[in-house]
Symmetry: C2
Subunit: 435 residues, 2 copies
């Protein structure tokens, strides 16, 4: 029985005859030799089929293989510095599982395709080397996020997707019919629930999809995106900033450690990621506005940053920038006021360098029950719906805080992508629900 | 500066003066001594406050503490075999962050409460020792699942929540208005998308919330539940069964390794979990029906198992049971037919022992494009909507298969719970959307 290996394992089988099961990625050929390049989801393997060493019929079959035909190749692994991955396989046998016919060829070819065409064929486009690399970096980021929290005393507590009330405004909520006449909304954040679970577990995090009915077409927004949200009790804004900084440094370190090959394939300038170390830049909202104005932004004190402002603040930075202490006027009801300036709240945004925009938003939450109730009234929110949230301030309230980090934004930044649509396997946007 | 520790770290600080930040869990007292038991999310610590050793006012404060009041205790850690966790703290100082007033006390007391009351107070109920244990076992299970797949060559590829078409029937779908006149459905399974990603990566898994508009009230169903779904190319039903078995053994091993304390608190008979080893019981659907009939079930050949049937099949089993080769008539359109019997398909269900029901469902998928198209027609499914799925059989199709494992079912089984509502922080059911 010939052992079946993945291409990633080739280095452990030099000199051995093994099997690889995959798909034809590319084929070069001459009269007497053919080089089918096989992909198996783990790597690429250049195979060498020599006419004189194979049955005539088999050599003909190999010579006429078509892109993405499925096949199982048997052959001997040989170290070959010039080959992709450092190894080649001398073909001894090859079984075609399915030959893609010339009459209906694989639709994605090495030539340039338009983005709409590629998005319509996303189920196939994921097989390309570039998309493959992005998804593997994404996996690495997600694993790093979980490993960080799991090893720092945070308990994972999944928060609900169906929620009865809105966390931040209602204009961007997706509504669902939830049995007889009841309406549910798809979550935009697990934060309010995290505050409950953090009171039970000390430190918690949730990690799942969140939804925003974003009607604008931008290169930074999806309607469905994944977010990790830690929450900590007995914690202040400084703790929130420290954990945000540590987390990002940890993730970048893991990506550099395990995904160099993928970053190279994406032509990512790795030195930009190697520069990501603590401490990050820190500035107040007040100072950020001043800097923006000198850079030509129209922003006035009291206004929220636009995407362009985020870019302006970080395009010349080599590390992320943490901006804190925002005007209360445009922040959500639950932010703890700045004890030194009542018009400000203890929120923080972390902006990625190189102009990739906000990747983290968070801060310290109100823990005083009277103040929370006041804010709920000021924001015209229904007290009844928030009664359980108010309870958290009645029964052993403590200072606490946390943040949300958008995974797709991180992937875009770390991979160096122009548009967020490539950061997830099947992106959902205003005009994109398929495939 | 006195170091702040979690109660879980007490063993590393014996003889030292440290701080614990938490909430009052319970209080015993006499005239000259008080024993506040503090919870901090990591454990319970019995503190010892001696009147003669403390300022009079502080001792009075401690004596009159109320349940769930938030506090920071400073004191020296001492080994004490009789205490919960093996340590006690001799109180040197205590700061009350918030005292819960007697006039509005913490609503959940050691006395019995009805389930509806507890579910209405789920945001507080999670602080109880029992709920705490369940959520920590859940976290362990999820981490084990991810570690298993991450270390066995599977790439995580998140599949979309918003889907345009139904995977299995439409009667239990939640519908969402997706911008101007478009309808989206909340995913019931990532499988179809997994088949696309597995063709790109060899082996993949998705892990996220799934939704079922289940109108029945049962103790095994939620409307929102988490599912992990691996998919493998160049794989057959036997591979699917092998991975399912390995995964379950791996998870149970991790839970036993790291969550003994929690299982004990749940009064789980640990010997039942220690018995979970490969090989699991294996039987065909044909044989399962015969066994059920001898046990008094009304089931006839061709009918699907009910919850009672699942219980009957496993109540006397010490290991999970894998039932395979089901009638095609009640299985989804994508199942690969049994080459030996055309009325059967290569599906497999894994039933937990002790009557906990189905935890895994999966099988081998159709890889022949003609047959898939035939089945799509037979099931009256819209070909156009499935074109991308058919594409997977046109461009390098290969035998492949996978399964879905419901996390809440696993938690219920491993924790020994009667009802699935306790397996997730904020369960969503027919009449339960709050808090």
């Amino acid at each position: 029985m010939i052992p079946r290996i993945t291409i990633a394992e080739a280095g452990q089988h030099v000199g051995e005859t093994v099997q690889i099961a995959g798909w034809l990625y590319n084929l070069r050929r001459s009269g007497k030799i053919a080089f089918p390049i096989v992909r198996d989801g783990y790597g690429l393997m250049q195979c060498v089929a020599v006419k004189s060493a194979l049955p005539e019929e088999l050599f003909e079959t190999i010579k006429n293989l078509t892109q993405e035909s499925s096949l199982i190749v048997t052959g001997k692994i040989r170290a070959e510095q010039r080959a992709h991955g450092g190894f080649e396989m001398d073909v001894e046998a090859l079984e075609v599982i399915q030959r893609v016919p010339e009459s209906d060829p694989y639709p994605i070819t090495p030539k340039d395709h338009g983005v709409d065409f590629l998005m319509d064929h996303r189920h196939l486009w994921l097989r390309s080397q570039r998309q493959h690399a992005i998804i593997r970096v994404r996996h690495e980021i997600i694993k790093a996020v979980r490993d960080y929290f799991d090893s720092h005393g945070f308990t994972l507590v999944d928060t609900p997707i169906f929620t009865p009330a809105a966390c931040e405004g209602t204009t961007t909520l997706f509504e669902v019919d939830y049995f007889e006449d009841e309406k549910a909304f798809l979550t935009q954040s697990g934060q309010l629930y995290n505050e409950a679970t953090a009171m039970a577990f000390g430190k918690t995090y949730c990690f799942g999809p969140t939804f925003r009915a974003e009607k604008s077409k931008t290169r930074r927004h999806l309607t469905e995106f994944w977010m990790v949200e830690p929450e900590m009790t007995y914690a202040t804004l400084d703790d929130v900033k420290r954990v945000a900084e540590e987390l990002i440094v940890f993730i970048v370190g893991r990506v550099l450690e395990n995904r160099r090959e993928e970053l190279k394939r994406l032509e990512r300038d790795v030195s930009k990621l190697e520069a990501i170390q603590a401490p990050f830049g820190r500035m107040s909202y007040d100072d950020a506005v001043k800097i923006l104005q000198t850079k030509g932004s129209e922003i006035q004190w009291g206004g929220d940053f636009g995407g362009t402002d985020e870019t302006l603040l970080t395009e010349d930075q080599t590390r992320p920038v943490m901006v804190d202490r925002f005007p209360a006027s445009f922040k959500a009801f639950y932010f703890q006021p700045d004890p030194e300036r009542s018009d400000l709240v203890l929120g923080v945004d972390v902006l990625a360098p190189e102009g990739y925009g906000e990747i983290i938003g968070g801060g310290q939450r109100i823990h005083d029950p009277e103040l929370l109730l006041k804010r709920i009234h000021e924001h015209n929110l229904p007290v009844e719906a928030f009664q359980w949230y108010i309870d958290l301030r009645k029964y052993g309230t403590v200072p606490h805080g946390g943040f949300g980090m958008g995974i797709e934004r991180c992937v875009a930044w770390m991979c160096g992508l122009e548009h967020i649509r490539e950061t997830i396997a099947f992106p959902r946007m205003l005009y994109r629900l398929r495939p």
